[in-house]
Amino acid sequence: MSRRLAWCLFAAAAGALLLLFLVPLWSVLRGGFFEDGAFTLRYLAGVFRNPIYAEGLRNSLLIALATTACATGLALPLAWLADRHDFAGKRALTGLVLVPMILPPFLGAIGFQQLFGQYGAFNALLGLGPVDWLGRGGMAGVVALQALALYPVVYLNAAAALANLDPALEEAAENLGCTGLRKFFRITLPLIMPGVFAGGILVFIWSFTELGTPLLLNFTRCAPVQVFDALKEIGADPFPYALVFVLLAAAVLLFAGGRLLFGRRGHAMTSRGISAAAPRRVRGWRGALCALPFAAVIGVALLPHVAVILTSLSEPGAWYRSVAPAGLTAANYAEALGHEMTVGSIQNSLLYASLAVLMNLVLGLAIALVVVRSDLPGRGLLDTAAMLPLAVPGLVMAFGYLAFSNRLSNQEWVKESPFWQSLLDVRANPTLFLVVAYSVRRLPYMVRSAVAGLQQTSVTLEEAAQNLGATPLRTLRRVTLPLIAANLIAGGMLAFAFSMLEVSDSLILAQREDHYPITKAIFELFQLIGTGPFLAAALGVWAMLFLGTCILGASLILGRRMGALFRV
C-alpha cells in the first residue's frame, strides 16, 4: 500500500474514531476532571488512594486472565478438532458451538436461578432440598460462567485462522519428523496465533469489564460493578467518571502489553484454502470421541438457554421446586410476539444492526489495513484506540452520545431543518446515533478479525496483483477481500449478533416506542410485574432462534461457496 493511501486511510479512520468515539466519551468523562470549571485530579487521586478500588481492579484483572485462559482452553481444541476431522454430527455441533454467545440480556440470570436456585431444577432432580449453589459462586463462579459464554469468540477467530492455514507448512514439518503435540505447539499454534490473539484479547477485555455475570452472582468487588454502582447511585457524583477513566487506562495498558507479548506480526502465508488438506474422516467410536468434547461444552454452555426456553413456556411461577415447569403454555409467546411494540422493535433492530455492521466493515477494514499493511508511526495507537470501545461501560457511552446529540440539536441550523433534526436529534429519531453507537461499540470485533486475516495473508499476493496493473481498489476487491473473507464474516457475525443484543445504548437513546430496538422491547416486557419475566423470555427466545438461524444460515451459505470457510 502506498504511503499516501495509508495516510488517507489513517486520517479517515482516526477522524471517525475521534468524532464518533473519543469526543462523546470525553464529554462525559470530563465530569470527573473538572470542579466548578477548574481542572482537578482530586477524583482520580481518590481512586488510587482508596484500597477498595485497587481491590476491584485487581479482582477484575484476575477474572479476565482466568476467563481468557479457560475460554481459550475450551475453544482451541474444539476449533482444531473441527478443522482436522470429519465426524458424524459435525455440522450441527459446529453450528451450535456459537449459540452460547446469543443469550438475550436480562434473561440469563433467570435461567440460572431456575436451574441452580434453591428451589431450582438441579436440586429437585437430585432431591437435595434447598441447597444454595448460586449464593457462594464468588470469583470462580464468575470465571466459569463467563468462559462458557465467551469461548465462541475465541473459537470463531481460531477457526478462521485454521481455515487460513497453509497445510503445506504442517506437511513440511511432518516430513522433517515434527509430529503430534510438538507440531501443534511449534508450527500450528504460531501460525494461527494472530487469530487466537484476536479472540483472546476480545475475551480478555470483555471479561475485564463485564457487568452482568458478577451482578448475577452478587460478586460486587470488581471494577465494572463498582463503576455501575457509582453511576446508579442517587445524587450526581463525578467520582465514577474518574473510575471509568482508570478502567480504560488499565484496559489500554493490558491491550498494549498483550499485543507486545502475543500480537506481533504473524507468519503470513502465500497460499491458503486452495491447497487445504481435506479433513480426516473419522467414524465409529473415534468419531464419537471427536463429537464428545463438543457435546459436553455445548451442553453445559447451553444450559441457561434451555432454561430460558423452558421459562418462556412456563405458566408464571409454575417452575418451582420441580425439574421442569409444572404447567406449560404458549400464551407467553402469543402475548409477547403479539405485543404492539414487538414488530416495530424487530424491524428497528434489523435496520440498526445491519447498518452498524456495514459501517463496521468499512471502518474496521480501513483500520486493519493501516495497522497491518503500513509502517505509519501512529498505527499502534490507532489499533489501541479501536479496542477501547470494548472497555467503556455502556451507560457512559450512551450518555456521551446523548450529550453529543443535545449539543447538535440545539444549534440553530438543526432546529430550523426537519431533515437535520431527524438525523441528529435523538429525541426526534435515534437511528443515526444508535447505528453509530452499535457500530463503535462492536468495532473491536471487526478490527481484530480483519487484522488477524491480513496478518495471515501474505502481502505478496496483493503486490502481484498491483504489478499486473490492478488499481488499489481493484486489488482490495479481487484479492484482499476474498482472502480475508472468513475473518470479516467472523467479525461481522459477532458484530451483528452483539449489536442486536446491545443494551445500554438502546435503553437510553431509543426513547420513544416507535424507535425501540428488540432489547428495549425485552426490557419493557421484563418490567411488567408478575408476568413480565415470562413474556420477556418468550421474546428473548424468539431473538435467540432468529439470531441462531442467521448465524447457521450465514455459515452454511458462505461456507458452501467459499469452500474451506470454517470447514463447516
Binding site: G37, D229, A236, G338, F399, E524
Partner: protein
C-alpha cells in the same frame, strides 16, 4: 443437493420466524388522533402498562372536555437515576444554546451554577455564572429554551424535590392548584400536603399514588428454615435468615433509603418510649425545639442516640443476613416467589402484584407492612421548565389528580372508568378512595368499592391507616438521609463479604449471645475521621469530603468485621 436442501430449510425457518410476530401483530386500532391535535411529551420510569392506560385515559378525558384527543409521547430512558442525568443533560444543553444565542459567553462552572440548589452555593461564584443562574431560573418559556419535555411523571418524592431544587420544574398554576383538585365540594381535604413526615405535594410536584415498603415472604422457604411469618423489621434480623433476604438498594433508590430510615426511626421511637417519654411529651418537646431551639432534657437526647445506634444495629443485622442489595427493584418479589430468597424488602404493590401471578397465590407468597414501621410515600408528577405544550401538560396534571385519573390506579380492567387492559393495582392518593369517618368521603369510597381491584378498605392496605400508625419526627432522621445512605453503603454493601464472614462465624460458634466480644467488635461505629454518633454525623458529612469519609468508614468496618470474625473463631476454637 443435500447442502442446498439444508440451506433452503434454514432460509425457510428464518422467514417463518420473521413472519411469526407479523402474523400475531394486533390489528391496528382506529386512531382518532390526527396531526394538528394536541401532543404531550412525558418522561417517566413507569412501566408500559401504566403508560398505556394513562395515555388512553387522558386522551379520552381530554376529548370529552376539550373536543380533541391527545397523543402522549412517552420518553423512556430507564429508572429515576437515568432520568435525573437525562434531564440535567437536556436542560444544560438547551440553556447553553440559549445563553450563547443572546451573545453571552458560557462561563466556567456554568452547569454547576445552574443546578446548585442555593444561589450562594458553589459554582455561582462568578458574577457571570450568577447572572446565568438568575436568568435561567427566571425563564419559563419554550421559545427561549426547552428540554422538549412537558412533564416528569413517576419516581419518588426525593427525585422530584431534587429536580425542583435544580430549577428544572416549575409551579403549574401561578395562584396554586385549583381548589377542586385538593378538596371536595364540602371542603374536605382530598390530598394532604404533608402526612406523617412525608411530603405528598409541594409547589411544583404533586403526589398521584402512594406506596410503602414492607416484607414480602415465601411461606415454603420459611417452613424450610423453621421461621414464623415476619411482621416487624426486627424479625429479619433473626440468624435463621442468613443469606436468605433480598433487599432494595438504599443507595440507588430514594424510596428504599426511606424504608431504611423508617427502621432506624422506629428504634429511636422505641428507645424514647422506654426512657419514659410519652407520645404527647415527645410532641411537646419536638415542638419546643422547632419553635425556639429550646434546651432539651439530656435523657431525651441520650435516648435518641441509643435508639439511633439500635436502629443501625438492626440495619447491620439485616445487612448481615442479606443475600444482596439490588437496584432492580422488581427482582426482590420475583425471587421471593421463586424461593431464591425467603424474604425481601420491597414496595407494597410489587408484593401484592407478585402474589396475583403466583400459583397458589397467598398460600405461597405473603406481604406485610410492618406495623408502625413504614411511612407512606408518594409517586409525584411535576411540570418541567419551558414545557413546549404547557396548557395540555397542566390538563394532564388535572386529570391524574382528578377522580377519573385516580380510578386508573385501582379499578379493575374493563369496568367503566377503569383501565382498559391492565390492572395497575396501585394506591391512589385521594382520600375519597378509602374508608373515612367523614361521611362525604365514606360515601365516595362506597361508590368506588364495587369496582376496585384490591380492597382499599383493608387496614393492611389502606395507606392512611398505615401512615397513621407511624409518628414521624423529621428532626430525628430526615437530615440524616444522606448519612444513612453512605453509612449503610460502607457498613453493609462495601463491607458485605467481611460482615457476612464475621456473622457466619458468630453463628457457627453459638450465636450472638455466646460471642459477646465478637458482637461488640461487630457493632462498633467508626472513630474516624471522628467518632460517629447521631449528633456528630451531620457535622462529619458537612466538614469532610464524601470520598474521604466513605473510604475511612469502609476501611473501618472491614477491619472491625475481620477482627470480629477472628474473635468468634478464637472463642469457638477447642
Amino acid at each position: 443437493m443435500a447442502a442446498r436442501l439444508r440451506t433452503g430449510a434454514i432460509l425457510v425457518l428464518a422467514a417463518l420466524l420473521l413472519a411469526l410476530p407479523f402474523a400475531l401483530r394486533p390489528a391496528a386500532q382506529a386512531e382518532d388522533w390526527r396531526p394538528g391535535d394536541p401532543r404531550l411529551s412525558v418522561i417517566t420510569p413507569h412501566n408500559q402498562a401504566i403508560r398505556h392506560e394513562f395515555a388512553r385515559g387522558f386522551s379520552a378525558w381530554h376529548r370529552e372536555r376539550y373536543g380533541r384527543p391527545v397523543q402522549v409521547d412517552w420518553v423512556v430512558v430507564g429508572g429515576t437515576t437515568e432520568i435525573s442525568r437525562y434531564l440535567v443533560s437536556e436542560f444544560v444543553a438547551a440553556a447553553r444554546a440559549w445563553w450563547r444565542s443572546r451573545g453571552q459567553p458560557w462561563p466556567p462552572g456554568a452547569a454547576e451554577a445552574l443546578l446548585a440548589p442555593e444561589a450562594s452555593a458553589r459554582g455561582a461564584s462568578t458574577a457571570a455564572a450568577a447572572a446565568l443562574r438568575a436568568a435561567f431560573r427566571g425563564t419559563d418559556d419554550a421559545s427561549a429554551f426547552t428540554s422538549g419535555l412537558d412533564l416528569f411523571f413517576g419516581g419518588g418524592e426525593y427525585d422530584h424535590r431534587k429536580a425542583f431544587e435544580q430549577g428544572l420544574t416549575v409551579p403549574p398554576w401561578p395562584d396554586g392548584p385549583p381548589a377542586r383538585l385538593l378538596a371536595t365540594a364540602g371542603g374536605e381535604e382530598l390530598i394532604p400536603e404533608r402526612a406523617w413526615g412525608e411530603t405528598w405535594r409541594g409547589d411544583t410536584f404533586f403526589g398521584t399514588a402512594l406506596s410503602s415498603f414492607g416484607i414480602c415472604f415465601n411461606r415454603d422457604r420459611l417452613r424450610d428454615l423453621g421461621l414464623a411469618e415476619p411482621s416487624r423489621w426486627e424479625d429479619l434480623a433473626d440468624p435463621s435468615y442468613f443469606r436468605q433476604i433480598g433487599a432494595a438498594d438504599p443507595t440507588k433508590s430514594g424510596s428504599a433509603a426511606k424504608a431504611f430510615e423508617m427502621m432506624i426511626h422506629e428504634r429511636m421511637a422505641a428507645e424514647v418510649a422506654a426512657a419514659g417519654f410519652g407520645a404527647a411529651e415527645v410532641e411537646g418537646l419536638e415542638a419546643a425545639i422547632r419553635a425556639r431551639g429550646a434546651s432539651v432534657p439530656a435523657a431525651y437526647e441520650e435516648a435518641l442516640e441509643r435508639g439511633w445506634r439500635a436502629g443501625l444495629e438492626l440495619v447491620q443485622r439485616i445487612g448481615a443476613n442479606a443475600r444482596y442489595f439490588t437496584a432492580a427493584s422488581q427482582r426482590v418479589p420475583f425471587e421471593v416467589a421463586m424461593g431464591e430468597v425467603a424474604a425481601g424488602i420491597t414496595i407494597d404493590f410489587y408484593g401484592r402484584f407478585q402474589a396475583q401471578f403466583t400459583p397458589e397465590g397467598a398460600a405461597r407468597l405473603g406481604f406485610v407492612t410492618p406495623a408502625g414501621g413504614s411511612s407512606v410515600s408518594c409517586d409525584p408528577v411535576s411540570l418541567l421548565r419551558g414545557a413546549p405544550h404547557r396548557e395540555t401538560a397542566v390538563r394532564f396534571l388535572e386529570f391524574v389528580l382528578s377522580e377519573a385519573g385516580q380510578k386508573l390506579w385501582c379499578y379493575r380492567p374493563g369496568v367503566s372508568g377503569g383501565p382498559q387492559q391492565h390492572a395497575l393495582r396501585r394506591l391512589p392518593i385521594r382520600r375519597d378512595f378509602y374508608p373515612s369517618a367523614v361521611a362525604e368521603l365514606q360515601a365516595a369510597y362506597e361508590g368506588h368499592r364495587p369496582w376496585l381491584a384490591d380492597d382499599l378498605g383493608d387496614p393492611a392496605v389502606d395507606p392512611y391507616v398505615l401512615a397513621a400508625r407511624f409518628s414521624y419526627h423529621a428532626r430525628w432522621t430526615a437530615e440524616h438521609f444522606h448519612v444513612h445512605r453512605d453509612l449503610i453503603r460502607a457498613m453493609c454493601l462495601d463491607s458485605a463479604a467481611e460482615l457476612q464472614a464475621a456473622w457466619e462465624s458468630i453463628l457457627r460458634h453459638g450465636g450472638p449471645e455466646a460471642n459477646g466480644a465478637a458482637m461488640a467488635e461487630l457493632r462498633r461505629l467508626p472513630d474516624r475521621p471522628e467518632g460517629l454518633s447521631w449528633r456528630s454525623a451531620l457535622r462529619i458529612v458537612r466538614e469532610h469530603r464524601r470520598l474521604d469519609y466513605l473510604r475511612e468508614w469502609t476501611e473501618f468496618f472491614r477491619a472491625s468485621y475481620r477482627r470480629a470474625r477472628e474473635l468468634a473463631d478464637a472463642a469457638g476454637a477447642p
